[in-house]
Symmetry: C4
Subunit: 324 residues, 4 copies
């Protein structure tokens, strides 16, 4: 365990100074971007426990509202189907009052509707359980119903109270003229009326490079911004990385970016006033999503005694010759 002679720290210092986004150096696949445009990491897991893989709550919270209602309706139907089967097997003579129903509908569906009245705790009582077995099943079903609706209450509240933020990013990353040089630019805007404050943005460039042995490794560089924090994220924000000679983007061409599989990782953080929580969103721009020599058109205008943002214009650009 004695330390080596010579200068043992140089390698360590190099390693310490190496940027790492957290994706590591082995993510050199040219077919796999690191972050998907919607902000999810492009990483799957094998060997998860069932509940971790299912991730039920998160799915139910984030699925579209129509799908959510459908899932509940389906669950309601299936549970009633199962209990109808049980009541039917026990025997309809243990459902007092069902005779009046079965003049109109089949015995099974009579049991089905009794089940639905029990599960929802409506309990009209024109059909009622008779005998121990049916009574036990009905008592269990009523409890189950209450637990199911406890669950639905929680889900509905969860969906409503912590809506996913709707931060819109421009579809492309522009290489635009900027001051007396050029800059990387994308535009971001809050679709919701909620007020984002203390918002900051972090930009990281990631590309494949060959190490001293010629092996491809993934390298990461912070891209310095014109402005990486704004107190009030009230309108739209055009985030700019000035391409100074110090920038790792300096002298790059569309071809060189494609060759090194360049991807720009974007992370935005802020505080959402209305829901009193912090907002973290991500996106990324792959080299194929860069557009050269265009700039954004204004998105903000005066209207009445206030200002208006036109979200439809977020991706609108005009030609703009680059500075050389």
């Amino acid at each position: 365990m004695a330390k080596k002679t010579g200068d043992p720290f140089s390698k360590l210092e190099q390693e310490r100074n190496r940027k790492d986004s957290g994706f590591g150096t082995a993510t050199t696949s040219t077919r796999a971007r690191l972050i998907l445009p919607d902000g999810r990491f492009n990483v799957m897991r094998n060997g998860q426990s069932f509940s971790a893989r299912l991730n039920l709550y998160h799915r139910l919270i984030t699925m579209p509202v129509f799908e959510f209602v459908l899932v509940i309706a389906l669950a309601y139907f299936l549970v009633n189907l199962v209990f109808a089967g049980i009541y039917y097997s026990i025997g309809l003579e243990h459902l007092s009052g069902i005779d009046e129903q079965t003049k109109f509908i089949s015995p099974f569906w009579g049991a089905f509707f009794f089940s639905s009245q029990t599960l929802t705790t409506v309990g009209y009582g024109h059909i009622s359980p008779l005998g121990s077995l049916t009574n036990v099943v009905a008592a269990i079903e009523a409890l189950l119903g209450l637990m199911m609706f406890a669950l639905i209450t929680g889900l509905v509240y969860g969906r409503f109270s912590t809506p996913s933020p709707k931060i819109l990013f421009s579809q492309h990353l522009l290489v635009s003229p900027y001051l007396d040089m050029n800059g990387l630019m994308f535009r971001v805007v809050n679709e919701r009326n909620s007020q984002l404050i203390n918002t900051s943005v972090n930009l990281m460039m990631s590309r494949n490079e060959a190490d001293s042995t010629g092996k491809l490794i993934r390298k990461y560089y912070n891209l310095a911004l014109e402005r990486d924090f704004i107190q009030f994220f009230s309108t739209s924000w055009t985030v700019v990385h000035p391409i100074t000679p110090e920038s790792p983007f300096f002298n790059e061409t569309p071809e060189s970016l494609a060759a090194s599989d360049t991807e720009i990782l974007v992370a935005l953080e802020g505080h959402n006033d209305a829901y009193s929580n912090s907002v973290h969103v991500r996106t990324s721009y792959l080299y194929s999503e860069f557009v050269w020599g265009r700039k954004f058109v204004p998105i903000l205008s005066e209207k009445g005694n206030g200002y208006l943002i036109d979200l439809n214009k977020i991706n609108e650009t005009v030609e703009a010759p680059l500075n050389v």
Copy 2:
């Protein structure tokens, strides 16, 4: 993409050093303040998705309680109306027991009350569904009722558990004598009994200025404060910007402030003990809301074995000749 000769960084450094609140430089309208007195940004959005524009949860959470109860009662009435129409169309002969009711009320209202008993899951059962169609509708209505009340439960909890903070700001910004100079002063007090801690205030002055080409742009300046943080926000807080020669407010007059459309942006942050969340509030003072040569009267007095804040006095001032 080669960089220009000369000193390419001077423009960039200027741009970097320019303060920006997040409203940008184009917000030079003299009819539009940036922040409304209640803290909302004076910015509308065009092209929002329907759900973002509706912003339903946030509205239901923040509307006055009377309005909230009314919305629920109305929704309850309308849903029952719709289902009454359905039961009525299917035919009253499929509502067993309704005959006893229709001696007193019209058949439609009999169906209406059956609907209300189903939606709320009361289900007395003196009226009960007969036949498959009515049973199906009743089963759906009971499920809908449970989902509606899941929603109401969530809303009621949301309204109750995260009340909007009630931070009161004085109506005017005073230009008052301060030590051996003058100062900008406003007063802030927590109307609720909840305990705010680690509270900080940030003040920004915003005004129109002509750039080198004569074009109006909006410029922003931080205003240094006598004190920008207090550990316990227990009583009232008179926030003071001392008008030193370094202040951008130095040598300003009511006329010059009006000419440049000056607006002071205020942001206050703190931690709310009782609800274990952070509080962020904003307000702004337009030049027309400044008052010259007055100072605040004390708001705190001793009472019994403690202290008393009189919230009614928050806007009370007396004449106070400015230092010259």
Copy 3:
């Protein structure tokens, strides 16, 4: 608005360097401590809006569980009483089936029990509404019942999910021997099994002093601590302010502390793992709660394969002659 000649900043700098806890300089009453032992600020408010004064949610969340159940039971009783009165006034002939009940109980109580069955949505149906007026009232009561229980659900969840932290402070502040000098010491322990991490403590001394004109003002001093942060607040923590010659406490005596109405303000912050929220608690020690020449006895012992804290010993001390 011209600035004064001479050195205009000296007064400002003095003011800026003055510590202020947020209680201000006018809180010089000798009968009023600033912070109550339970951590509340000793400040009342006049002129609050009704809802801010009522502070209903916070009270219902923090009252003892027995009181909470009582409040709900009482509300339940009163609402039923009101509705019983309404049904009774409309006429019992509009409550079908009540005749069977009134053989045993008075008509009013029959209406009362019908009301309770409607409010809770049990709806047995052996009593049921007849005629439009009674039906309308019953439909409203069922809706009210659901809203009341939405409210109760929210309150129960609120009570359960964000329990007030139970941080115990020793009753007295000790002046004890510490290393080769003396120190101010108090002890703090987490009564709950929840795990507090990244915990920090801040100590402020507050006392009356005469300013240059002889007027009493309240002054504040930070007290430097031996240790003001611990990563794991796992056992107990004896917080120590070493009384070095630089300490504002140096050379103080019980008499001088009483004369200046000295109060030590304590604020503790940490992160609560189990409930994923931050914990902020406060207490204060008035000069009359200082004990001189004693030290704490150990509170931690080994037990089995772990350690044991004996909460009963938090206030136990033994004599310990001070260093001179």
Copy 4:
């Protein structure tokens, strides 16, 4: 209270510079680790209030789902049993309609099922209360039922909405070759699909040392890491402490570590995107859980257009001779 002659601060400075994790210096038991592998502190409490000891909410929130359902079912059964006993004692003649049931089941179970229909607010009504006493009990039971299910709703939501993070740590701490020296390494991976960001790790070494008087005290050392922060915790993270000559681990052997009862305390913090809360987890490695001369095998591979982590491999290692 005069200060001692000589240099009174040296002892204080020593004390101030001593690291303390919060476990203190008296925790020198060789049978008691400080942090259990699941992250709980190995500390019990004596003298807690009943509710603090019970810690009911936290237990119900964290117990396995099967156990949770069982607890609810049991509570449901017991409450019904109690109320059945009450109705039975009052007399079955006060339960109208029970005669039809008692042809099939015993009177007590008839009362039991009536109770269950009241508690769940199903209220079929084929059995209904008659007379004041039974009516009062039924009204109370329905209220109790609603409160119980308010509670269940809250618990179900709490369980669902704030799932405990599932951060997996490798079972052993490896002493592995690292660059041109050796390093302490463990691996950590997020089992859930949720996205952890701004994640940091802190490592502390804790061991028994004799002080100048020969008394054992517990000492703590921070272990510097190759990297203690990653922005995106997307894949797996091998945390490395390089064993430089400055490391307190330098020159240690398995025997010396056992003799000093060495334990490595690990704390990880991050922000969980999906649930918008912060994640704090802990674990510890006792000297007996160190493995010398092995290194981890890769856990990340390419799959389709993305990457795949194989959680099953988290503990897989291969032999790797240490650098000397």
